[in-house]
Amino acid sequence: MKNIVIIGNSAAGVAAIEGIRSRDRESKITVISDEAYLAYCRCLISNYLSGTVAEKDLTYRDAKFYKDNNVELLLEKKVERVDSKKKRIILEDKSQISYDSLIIATGSSPKIPKELKGVTKRGVFGFRTIKDTKEIITIASISHTSCVLGGGLIGLKAAYGLNKRKLDVKVIVKSGRILSQIADKTASELFLNCFQKNGIEVMLNTDISEIIGNGDLRAVKLDSGKAIGCSLVIVGKGVAPNIKLISETDIKTDKGILVDESMRTSVNDIYAAGDVAETFDLTADKYENNALWPCAVEQGRIAGLNIAGENIKYTGSLGMNSVDFFGLPLVSMGAFDTELEAASSLDREKNLYKKLVLKGSRLIGALLVGDIRNSGLYLRLIKEKADISKIKDDLLDANLSYAKIAELIKKKEEKIYL
């Protein structure tokens, strides 16, 4: 019987609870979150913003889950610091909780450029929580024009949501293209087209120099000197892991908290999982902070299982994402934006694009736009580091199948065919 404390009640924290409870019904589990809500589908706040998903349908785990799993959930409590020497955590209200095992699943927060003049004005938001979204909706209901800073996935999801709310949206992007984390140049052009066609103006190679207003924001000033009147600004300039609370410990960090394949940090009895963790990336062959929902779930579960006495190893993370904007789907995974050998096909008229990146006899990245069939097979070949030389010429074929790749991959207990 252990005393387990989990900081963070989202994808990684919840999966950790499930991991622990699948083996251990006895230990005490305390989960702490500084948010006011039960665990919710964070990725769906843009659907909540657009009005297609109701607030109640954002719930990821309801109150019954915590009761059934005998978890003490402390909401609206912020952990100020971890004291690993005394094996306790100190909350903002100065109360203390001791632990035998600790899981840090504090996720990440939007990067807000502090140096940007006027960034603290009312009406400027990051886009991360239900709370952010509620405030955005309130302003959106009385506002006409809004600006999104940054052309990444989260910024564009916000823009998409505002567009569906019939707001006039302008996306201001410093670089020359959108979605650079999940698309190469060609794919980002297809999506740029798709956004512009659907009435979202994207301004590339443009930066803003100031946010203007008197308390409330009134306009953003571009580096060209021109100003755009607006009453809402959403900053989508990436996220940073929430690691402040461990700054007084010896836990090793890079961008995020470095963990080994058991999800252990460099300090005994402290584990980390999810957006806050930096794990070994399978295709980059180095440590990366892959801040993604499926990674958070897998890492959280492994951390939980290992605390409960298992010895499960994480095979490593992989950048991968799937989105659909205005009916145009995209899936990308691994190293898809490199100079390496690639097989590709493109039909701009039909918005169809497929690219598979090879490194020697291995597939290390895939990017699919329009037709995303079989993407799971590519993921499998990438993850299992399969030798694909035998089927190299058939990789782009829509007729690719499990049966086709079956002899190249590790089939553990997969019973399908006679």
């Binding site: 690719l400 019973k415 006679l418």
Partner: protein, 161 residues
């Protein structure tokens, strides 16, 4: 719990399973009416041919279900009792995370309906429609132990030949 297994030596890729499946997933559940439906019903099972052999594939309801882990909308859950992945269509937002991670490539996107096409083993009727539809008996609906036994028998009869 029972799962679908396929005898590749029998499958002729006649696609009767695909037709029965799509019909079962249509609004009318009638082949001739289904063809005329505004949103064309799609089959969850797909037969693919490789090296001269035909391989049907549909959701395997995996014990490790990566699609459930990847679902950002909690539209997918795993029913431990029934050993099935359950898809709540009302919660689904069509983000295609499940398509991206399916280790069998068995989940596809239905762009019209904005939800994935995934086999639910015909939860609305007693047994999956593809079984009866198969004219050569290539589709089997078995407990895992039954499958193991058939496989073992097949191997030993090969040996004795």
């Amino acid at each position: 719990m029972k799962k679908l297994y396929y005898d590749v030596s029998k499958c002729l890729a006649c696609k009767s399973c695909e037709i029965a499946c799509a019909t079962g997933k249509s609004a009318s559940k009638d082949l001739f009416k289904a063809v005329g439906e505004e949103i064309k019903p799609r089959s969850c099972v797909i037969v693919k041919t490789t090296q001269g052999k035909n391989f049907p594939i549909a959701c395997r309801h995996c014990k490790t279900h990566p699609c459930v882990d990847a679902c950002i909308a909690k539209a997918l859950t795993y029913d431990e009792n029934k050993k099935r992945v359950i898809h709540d269509k009302d919660r689904c937002i069509g983000c295609w995370m499940c398509v991206m991670v399916c280790p069998y490539g068995a989940i596809r996107d239905n762009k019209k309906l904005k939800i994935p096409i995934r086999c639910d083993l015909c939860a609305d009727v007693d047994e999956p429609r593809c079984i009866k539809a198969c004219p050569v008996g290539a589709i089997m609906y078995l407990e895992e132990e039954e499958y193991d036994k058939i496989l073992a028998d097949k191997k030993s009869s090969k040996k004795s030949l």
